[in-house]
């Protein structure tokens, strides 16, 4: 969006934009990460996800939630609810879960495993 803005602006801005774009493409992905997954333990992630679920749907606050709890059957969330929950989890761990992956996350345990394996999560 800003790239487009700059492009249509002065020639100077043009040059800056070109440089910036170029630099983005040559910096290896790994250098842009400031955190790694190493700090997150499975227990830690589980607690945080359960908290997010309970904060998302107050009616689930008293329910026991385990790694085996499925979003649909056990927690009673429909597809739209699940999308919202995924967004809440994304915000909690400051990551973006691709749609393809999110579609496969059917229960709490699978979500925990994904977060733990995601080096961007923090």
């Amino acid at each position: 969006m800003f790239r487009q803005l700059l492009r249509t602006a002065t020639p100077l801005a043009h040059r800056q934009a070109a440089i910036a774009t170029k630099r983005t493409s040559i910096v290896p992905q790994s250098l842009m990460r400031y955190y790694s997954a190493s700090g997150l333990t499975k227990d830690d992630v589980t607690t945080r996800i359960v908290d997010v679920i309970k904060a998302y749907d107050k009616s689930l606050a008293a329910k026991p939630i385990s790694l085996e709890s499925t979003y649909n059957k056990d927690l009673g969330l429909d597809s739209l609810d699940t999308v919202e929950l995924i967004v809440a989890i994304e915000e909690e761990f400051e990551i973006e879960i691709p749609d393809k992956v999110a579609d496969e996350l059917k229960n709490v345990g699978e979500t925990v495993d994904y977060i733990v394996s995601n080096p961007d999560a923090n």
Binding site: F2, R15, Q16, A20, T21, R23, V27, M32, E96
Partner: protein, 497 residues
Amino acid sequence: MLKNTRTNGLLKTSYRVFGLQNVHPLKFYSSSAAATAVKKIADNISLETHTDIQAAAREQAEERSSAGNDSASNGVGGFTAPNALKHAYQENTGFGTRPIYLDMQATTPTDPRVLDTMLKFYTGLYGNPHSNTHAYGWETNKEIETAREHVAKLINADPKEIVFTSGATESNNMVVKGIARFYKKTKNHIITTRTEHKCVLEAARAMINEGFEVTFLNVNEDGLIDLEDLKKNIRPETCLISVMAVNNEIGVMQPIKEIGEICRKNKIFFHTDAAQAYGKVPLDVDKMNIDLMSISSHKIYGPKGIGALYVRRRPRVRLDPLLSGGGQERGLRSGTLAPPLVAGFGEAARLMKQEYDADVAHITRLSKKLMDNLLALEHTTLNGSSKHRYPGCVNVSFAYVEGESLLMALRDIALSSGSACTSASLEPSYVLHALGKDDALAHSSIRFGIGRFTTEDEVDYVIKAIVERVKYLRELSPLWEMVQEGIDLNSIKWSGH
């Protein structure tokens, strides 16, 4: 390389201007969604507007106490401000400080979708809509006409019947003065009501100076006019009947359809001030025989500074314009239109139609919750008809509590004890007087305005705060003590001033 660092530095400087100094420029470009990038930088932008309600309240309290102890003479427990204030400012740790906005009859927040429509008029679409020699004029004019359609559609009018004005006050003045002046050779009588907005009352009074006679209809204790009374007051010289659709202070809805029928039968122009009704209650100019209607944009989440007047074309309604000039808006309102405001108003009207069902359901639900809980308090009454009303306006009297002290104790909620236009004075509301309420009760009433953006959490907070503080203020009131002891207050002879 050198060039690189330099330009990079330049980039950094330019971000700094926007207060984004801690952001690595690369991050800005690497993010796929601009929104995610903004989310991260937003933390570094300094707070634009800081509302220090405590300082503001202290200032106001000082101003009031130095203005004299007027309120003590009301006999409602004297001026309890110091205690009340202390009570209202118990530190609410963990929460923000900005008050909840519950004054939707004064004005409404601008809908972000409205702002989105307006912004392009401040960035690219700056042509004068009346310039018909070039594309800049045409493109703006096209947007104006689209807005006009949206505004008309909501009341089943023809776009040609909509005249843009600066707001409902101008529209009301235009009608009362314009119709009267146009027909002054044959007619000299105007009918309106006692509970109209100040601008209708004042415009009507101004016409008395021009030789007109004005009948101000009384309202019953529900705030409604009596149709028989209206019929009785009609004369052959009556040129205009002006009755507001929804009252701004008590939210009462007049029987517009019935009034329209009477007007049509007697061939008298019917004007309704629909500033509080437009888009919020069903209005149809044909079904209701409305000849003129005043509309305001900022009561429907649109921009301030714009409104409209509906002027019927068939049968034609003629009026003298207030402004002379280039003859824009069918010659009724000269002057260049403000395209950003017009387009914003149009979008606001479109949204009122699109969101009608959702808004009504939401507002009715919250209003019911608020009313049920407040009226559960003893010696608390709803002002105005409980049946014929717009649910988004709830006016409640809390006996034995002075409204102003209650408002002072409720700095965390933005409320009004009357209309914003008259609340500058400490005079009790003339609308509540017209309903037959006495001074003390009129002084102890508060208006709650619920809108599209009000949340259930806010309503819950307000209920809790009001109930708590009404009880608290009553504890301080000697009158309340007497009531509790069973003394009939009317039997007491006050030593007066």
